[in-house]
Amino acid sequence: MMPRSFRRALALALAALTLAGAAAAQQVTLHVLLPGGDQPGSQKSIKDLVQPFEKAHPNIKVQFEAVGWDSAYQKITTSLLAGDAPDVIYIGGRWIAPFSQLGGLLPLDSYVDQAKRDSFPSGVLKGNEFKGKLMGLPVAFSTKTLYYRTDLIPTPPTTWDELLADAQKVTKDHPGTFGIGISGAAHVSTTSQFFSFLYQAGGQVFDDQGHVTLDTPAGVKALTFYTDLYTKYHVAPNPVEYNREQLPELFKQGKIAMMITGPWGKTIMGLDPNNATVPYATAELPCGERCGGIQVGDSVVISKSTAHPDEAYQFVDYWTSLQGHTQYDLDGGLVPMVKGEQSNAAFQSPFWQSFLDMIPKGFPQPQPLAWEPFQTIITNMVQNVLLGKQSPEQALKAATSAIQAQKLEPAAATQ
């Protein structure tokens, strides 16, 4: 026989448990995966993003998880395949197509209204569509400019010929300093660097029907110019050793006088333009047949397996809002993207102006059906020419047939 007091205690405990259960049902914890979130600077960005959001949404708790960019693709792909992906994921824009293709992402069409759509540059938003559906929202975006040493190169080059001439002059007059640094390592940035030259030469990777069009006179011209900087003119240190994110370090050490990179070049160097040791400025990219440069974006997506799609979108919405995103760009030193951001006082400088000037001249990153094998093919193509193993013509032909054989062309999608 149970004592009465014990029964009462039991009833109370049960009631408390039920109440706690109800409260727990209302309290939602969102898991957000941020590649590169392990870097020191990211902590401030995350805090500035999460705190105001949690204050405005007391029922939602946001938990950030970090992964290095190097292993991000593998981690995200496996977690999407296993159906246990974080609720919200920050991804490279190049992964929109493959992750949509494998059915891992939640389409956002029903959440995003026209006003929200209009707050992004239309080209950048378009990069987030897959087969007519909106699969993510742009969350970071970059144009590239030419960083150049103002003490060695008085006026920045505006054409390919001037670029080469300036690079040759610096290399000749300043032993120990190369005219330019370019990327040739097995890294995503090698594709970006080469594609800007490809575009300037009048070429493109895929045509409007999604067929590969690398093996063209424009392709030959671009690959020849790009690799000749090292193989023929010796105005660049061995590109095979470096990816673009390592060039700012060479620039800072005075080993190279020019490089093409995004605004983070300044952040990595930790030096402002016109500093005393390596004075530099940024300028629009030199032009070939046409002017312009690649625009690469990052996106924020919601995984299809999330148990809290509505709360996840509330967070995505805040992240890409004028308020949330301005702070995010300021903390991360990224090109302002959301409508209204550019008028912020922090972006009024010649440095930022050069990046803003490149926006209308940008072209989007190609969208192969799977990025990583595509990247391997392109970097191998560039490396084979840099190492003298293949001529530009041979390398472009080999890359074209590899892309076709591995069914990576957008046109190869069967659904």
Partner: protein, 313 residues
């Protein structure tokens, strides 16, 4: 309360049955029971994944392309394996890389073992220094070496140009030949301590009487090395090089941080290729075939070695 007394009572009533149970549970009579946890562990974490890879190798299945579907492919993945010039090149590179690295490890490790087997002043310091590569996490070591070998900032170039050996910086990891040698040397650096330790243990096990007898018979030190030391430690040498070969063949942690298999595939060994096929292309069928191929190849080599060892024994 009552439960505590039950076994005691039953024990006192039917001692024979309890003894039977105890006898049956004794390790001498039923080893299976005690091996069970280990067996289950091996089945779950070794046999199951291996079987899964084997099955996967028979399917055409690209995980990131659900639109292409998953279909039974028979041996077609193996067909792709042997007609793909990239795979054949990776096989060639792997064999050459393994031979280079294991030869280096064995020679340097053997030399270190010979030098360190007799006591001398400062021997402990050398032993400690020798152990450093072993206690360093391999990935950390590889990343450190990446900077040592860097073309523009690397300490190696700094040292060589200070000594006047080179006048232009060498891009060690940016050229095919030097990248191949550099990755092999870093792999040697990582593997030498193991070789030295094992061979030192082997040398210590050679009975001193043999050397004394040799000395009495007037053998030179070269003769003593060739006719006493070498034959005596041959079994150990074989085991050590076999283990080292298998590890080196599968070495991923050194190559990946240093070159990611580049430049232009010059250091893409079979494991690197398997990794990029599985977790870059997510082509699990082809990756499964590659992994199975490496598995069978290493089993065959190990079996050959084992036979050799039996004969030596």
């Amino acid at each position: 309360m009552t439960t505590e007394r039950t076994p005691a009572r039953s024990l006192s009533r039917r001692p024979s049955r309890w003894a039977v149970v105890r006898r049956a549970l004794h390790p001498d009579h039923s080893p299976v029971l005690y091996l069970l946890p280990a067996v289950l562990f091996l089945l779950l974490f070794l046999a199951y994944p291996i079987l899964k890879v084997l099955v996967e190798s028979l399917y055409a299945d690209i995980l990131i392309r659900p639109d292409l579907g998953r279909t039974f492919a028979g041996l077609r993945n193996y067909g792709r394996l042997f007609t793909d010039p990239g795979v054949l090149r990776a096989l060639r590179i792997t064999v050459l890389w393994t031979l280079t690295s294991v030869a280096g490890k064995t020679l340097v490790g053997f030399a270190a073992a010979l030098l360190l087997q007799h006591p001398f002043r400062g021997r402990r310091i050398y032993m400690t220094l020798l152990m450093i590569p072993w206690v360093t996490p391999v990935v950390v070591a590889a990343i450190a070496w990446r900077w040592v070998l860097d073309g523009q900032f690397g300490q190696l170039n700094g040292l060589l140009s200070a000594l006047g050996i080179i006048h232009q910086p060498v891009s060690w990891l940016g050229q095919q030949g030097t990248a191949f040698v550099a990755t092999a040397v870093v792999d040697m650096w990582v593997g030498i301590p193991f070789m030295a330790m094992v061979l030192m243990a082997g040398l210590q096990a050679v009975p001193n009487e043999l050397y004394e007898a040799g000395r009495i018979d007037g053998a030179t030190s070269t003769q003593m090395f060739s006719f006493i030391t070498l034959p005596m430690i041959r079994p150990i040498l074989l085991v050590a090089t076999l283990l080292s070969s298998v590890w080196t063949f599968n070495s991923f942690q050194v190559i990946w941080p240093l070159t990611r298999g580049g430049p232009a595939g010059a250091t893409t060994t079979l494991v690197v290729r398997t990794f990029t096929t599985a977790f870059g292309s997510f082509d699990f069928g082809l990756a499964g075939a590659l992994a199975t191929f490496v598995f069978v190849l290493l089993m065959a080599v190990s079996y050959g070695y084992w036979r050799l060892l039996q004969r030596t024994g």
